[in-house]
């Protein structure tokens, strides 16, 4: 049995790696996603254009604008002379923010009285707007301190902020390790879903069935190669994270790899379930796609699971990607201790058990 199984696995691997076109299709998308994702998938805010309506013109607003212009997230300050112009710039999405200094802004500020400045934010870009707002608020607070010092009051920054694990909040430290999970999942899903559909379409499935290979062996023969391909890809991504993107790795590589295999197992189970309901390759591609999108969206990769409604958070528990992301991101940045890994690995094991059992039942019933 082990012998036959080895042949199934080797055959499956060769059939993905022999043909240059399949190879490209297998390796191209993940690499492209790695490159584009790691640079494009950022929730940071940069290169912002700001419209400025300065009705004050005093020293404080000038100082403020100087700070604003010098800050790294700003690309351009667009001076305007009336609020209609300011509004139309926002309407037309030329600027994300509009700053308006009221006429007595500097006078009030120097006098130590409250000096409000208006910040108009394009709500169509709520997330960027919020982040930009917090940047502007920090500039305001900083300026506040300086004004107080100018007035001779000795004040220190009242709060100290420390970002653990990633002190400079480098976005790629978050994105790249997580990508290893997402891309490995995509590839394992497509590989398993396609491999059975393709054998059906080509007629080679019959060949397998008339040979002494048992149904369970066929299933294992489809599971292992997909796991290997997915795990190798994830391994490459993890390597890229460490050596190319210089993300610090603080955890235990062995535990991470063990979790990766468990993760792959649960994904392959889902892939097999998809493939058993698909007749053609086209359906398999669409099926894998229809499964992958929700799995990614509720995994917490794009936005935190905590932001979702409670019932959806419950559903996210059934998403193996969610658990793997905790492990992989924790292993990189947080030196995730063993008991925490187990806490996330256990649900994955349960998911794998369920999906693989269901898939085996599905595939077996199709074999008869």
């Amino acid at each position: 049995m082990w012998h036959r199984l080895a042949h199934l696995v080797v055959k499956e691997l060769i059939s993905y790696l022999r043909d240059p076109r399949t190879r490209v299709i297998l390796i191209g998308p993940p690499l492209m996603q790695l490159v584009i994702f790691s640079f494009a998938a950022t929730l940071e805010v940069r290169n912002v254009a700001v419209a400025v309506l300065n009705q004050d013109g005093g020293p404080v607003s000038e100082r403020f604008l100087e700070r604003l212009g010098a800050s790294s997230f700003i690309n351009e300050l667009v001076p305007v002379t009336d609020s209609a112009r300011l509004e139309s710039l926002i309407d037309e999405r030329r600027v994300l923010l509009g700053v308006r200094f009221p006429p007595d802004f500097s006078r009030s500020a120097v006098a130590g009285e409250p000096a409000p400045l208006q910040l108009l934010i394009d709500g169509r870009r709520a997330n960027a707007g919020q982040i930009a707002q917090s940047y502007v608020s920090q500039i305001a607070a900083q300026l506040d301190l300086e004004l107080a010092r100018d007035a001779g009051v000795d004040v220190a920054e009242p709060t100290i902020v420390r970002h653990w694990f990633n002190p400079n909040l480098i976005n790629q430290w978050y994105i790249v390790p997580g990508l290893s999970g997402i891309l490995a999942m995509m590839i394992a899903l497509v590989v398993t879903a396609l491999s059975i559909a393709r054998e059906r379409e080509m007629g080679t499935f019959d060949q397998l069935l008339v040979s002494p290979i048992r149904p369970l062996e066929i299933i294992i023969g489809k599971t292992v190669p997909a796991m290997i391909i997915g795990a190798v890809l994830a391994g490459v991504m993890i390597g890229a994270a460490i050596f190319l993107f210089h993300v610090p790795f603080s955890g235990n590589l062995g535990w991470l790899l063990a979790s990766l295999l468990l993760f792959m197992l649960s994904v392959v189970g889902i892939g097999l379930m998809v493939s058993s309901v698909c007749q053609t390759q086209q359906q398999a591609i669409l099926g894998a796609f229809m499964a992958a999108v929700p799995l990614i969206l509720i995994s917490g990769f794009a936005t935190p699971v905590e932001n979702m409604p409670g019932w959806l958070q419950l559903l996210a528990e059934a998403d193996p990607l969610k658990h793997f992301l905790i492990i992989v991101q924790g292993s990189f940045l947080k030196a995730l201790p063993f008991h925490e890994i187990v806490a996330s690995a256990a649900p994955m094991a349960l998911i794998a058990l369920i999906t693989l059992s269901v898939a085996t039942l599905f595939v077996r019933s199709r074999l008869q």
Binding site: H3, H7, I14, S15, D19, Q207
Partner: protein
């Protein structure tokens, strides 16, 4: 009057490879022209060039007086073309397909009702207008494809291998229709691998390696074989052994099995004398026979593949375990309330070639699939080499070799990797495995293709590889599902040479086919119709059972059609099974 199609020095190259090199000729109106030739001779390319779907690299083609390059649109108005896949939309109904092609041809709405009525009557599809084309049987699809191609009453009708995978009854019906059309003045081009069809054409264009090897009435070619075709009768038991011996003689060009007799083509009288010499030492009588087009075809292309199968020399005798190797008892399969196979019984002896014939949808595929364990019977049992497929599938499967209809191989694996995989799948190891793979490479001459993907192989080699993959574990029973569908006569002969050799070693062979020449190779055939076996016996017995005064010497095809129709006449109301 000018010819319907004129070909003038037509050359077609794909990249550097020439598919056609210098074709000149005429295809006349009101005649049925057969386009024949071995696989890869360029038949489909020529069809597409005439249909103005491709541009010739050199030379010119005119269709109904119009140039195929400059006046392609007007050619498209004048021709009807049925590609190999019939060009039907499987998710549209019969009527919707007809309507679509009528609109595409801009058929006048007023004349339409009449045209549809005529076509539906002509193709006898009137009862199925609402059925989706994908649910039609092969024969019905083919007729619908023809109806669509005929929509605009074309001047030239091009049919690309319309009879592949279609049973003899549908084929004969289609043939009658097309002849009627030619009688009305249409030019019909019919490309085919079945030479009995070619023989009945008014003209034949025989292509070989991109050139015309013969053009003219088939009788003209056949006449060259006068006094060179013979039948060997009264052979006794070992007709396969005799055939092999005769084919190895100098001056014997071709030979096939026809039921209990042999058909032999010799190069000259010396060849015939050598045959007579051999027959003196064995039983058998040499009688002159009327030459067939197929004899001439093989002769023109340099003769058949000879009489020795390297495979036979490498195979070992199958141990004489038991007399009955395949058995089915009251085998029944129902899909919902549709009965595909109804209480089928038969048994196959060791070393027998057993054929399973029947019209499309008669249940032979279902029976076949149950026998090799691909389908689970609703009731009844099957045994292969003494093992019940249900109780010990593993043991039964180890005894079984299977070659699927379209030579299903892994196209993503190379030829060598396919061999390695299949040997491994059957549990062959180490030295044995290596040795068997090398053996197959040698026997089937696969060495130069080892690193190619199976898709890139010529059809004949693909078939060889499929057979090799089915044989490496030395099965005692071989299942062949339409093994030579669409394959040219020479490759077919070579294939049967191997099968004959295997049978000599004691391998039992079960084969399904639509091809009546192939049925003649069988020791016994079971003819199925409407889920039941309606006749079982040797090909000669079946032929004899339908012999009558007006048809004293029926062919296998005659027997097939007569037997099926006899049953259908009995059960008029039986529903059409798709």
């Amino acid at each position: 009057m000018s010819a319907a199609v004129e070909l003038d020095g037509v050359v077609k190259r794909f990249d550097a490879v020439a598919a056609l090199s210098g074709i000149s000729g005429r295809i006349e109106s009101g005649r049925l022209t057969g386009l024949v030739g071995p696989d890869g001779a360029g038949k489909t390319t020529l069809m597409r060039l005439i249909a103005a779907l491709m541009i010739p690299t050199e030379g010119r083609i005119s269709v109904a007086g119009r140039d195929s390059v400059r006046e392609a649109p007007s050619i498209h108005r004048l021709i009807g073309y049925m590609p190999q896949s019939f060009g039907l939309y499987e998710d549209l109904s019969v009527m919707e397909n007809l309507r679509l092609y009528a609109d595409l041809r801009n058929l006048d709405p007023d004349a339409r009702a009449h045209t549809f009525e005529r076509l539906l009557h002509f193709t006898r599809l009137g009862a199925f207008t609402e059925r989706l084309a994908g649910r039609l049987s092969g024969g019905m699809k083919q007729k619908l494809g023809l109806a669509c191609a005929l929509m605009a009453e074309p001047e030239v009708l091009l049919l690309d291998e319309p009879s592949v995978g279609v049973d003899p009854i549908s084929r004969r019906e289609l043939w009658a229709m097309v002849q009627e059309l030619a009688g009305e003045g249409m030019a019909v081009v019919w490309s085919t691998a079945y030479l009995d069809e070619a023989e009945r054409c008014s003209d034949v264009l025989l292509l070989n390696e991109g050139r015309i090897a013969f053009a003219g009435p088939p009788a003209e070619l056949t006449a060259r074989l006068e006094d060179r075709s013979f039948r060997v009768t009264d052979i006794g038991s070992d007709r396969r052994g005799l055939l092999s011996t005769l084919l190895q003689l100098d001056g014997v060009r071709d030979g096939v099995i026809q039921g209990d007799a042999l058909r032999v083509v010799v190069a000259d009288t010396a060849g015939a004398d050598r045959v007579r010499t051999v027959l003196k030492t064995r039983t058998g009588t040499l009688r002159p026979a009327a030459p067939r087009f197929e004899d001439a075809f093989i002769d023109l292309l340099g003769g058949g593949p000879g009489g020795r199968s390297a495979l036979t020399e490498h195979m070992h005798d199958v141990p004489d375990q038991r007399p009955v190797m395949v058995e089915c008892n009251a085998l029944t399969k129902r899909f919902g309330d549709f009965t595909a196979t109804d209480a089928v019984d038969f048994s196959v002896q060791r070393g027998e070639v057993f054929g399973l014939l029947g019209p499309n949808g008669a249940g032979k595929s279902t029976t076949f699939r149950m026998l090799c364990g691909l389908l689970r019977p609703t009731s009844g049992s099957t045994e292969v080499a003494g093992y019940d497929l249900r109780d010990s599938p593993g043991d039964a499967k180890r005894q079984l070799g299977y070659m699927a209809q379209k030579f299903s191989l892994y196209d993503l694996l190379s030829v060598r990797q396919n061999l390695e995989f299949f040997s491994g799948a059957y549990g062959l190891r180490a030295n044995v495995r290596r040795q068997r793979i090398d053996e197959m490479i040698e026997v089937f001459d696969l060495a130069r293709y080892l690193n190619e993907a199976p898709v890139a192989l010529p059809l004949g080699f693909k078939q060889r590889l499929a057979l090799a993959c089915a044989l490496m574990h030395r099965p005692s029973v071989l299942f062949l599902d339409e093994p030579t569908s669409g394959v040219d006569p020479i490759t077919r002969r070579e294939f049967w040479l191997h099968i004959t050799g295997l049978v000599a070693r004691g391998v039992t062979v079960l084969v399904t086919t639509h091809f009546m020449d192939e049925a003649e190779y069988c020791d016994r055939v079971a003819l199925m119709s409407n889920a039941r076996v309606i006749a079982l016996g040797s090909p000669d017995q079946l032929k004899a059972s339908v012999a009558s005064d007006e048809r004293p010497d029926p062919t296998m095809e005659d027997a097939f059609i007569a037997l099926v129709q006899r049953v259908e006449d009995d059960a008029r109301a039986a529903p059409e099974a798709a």
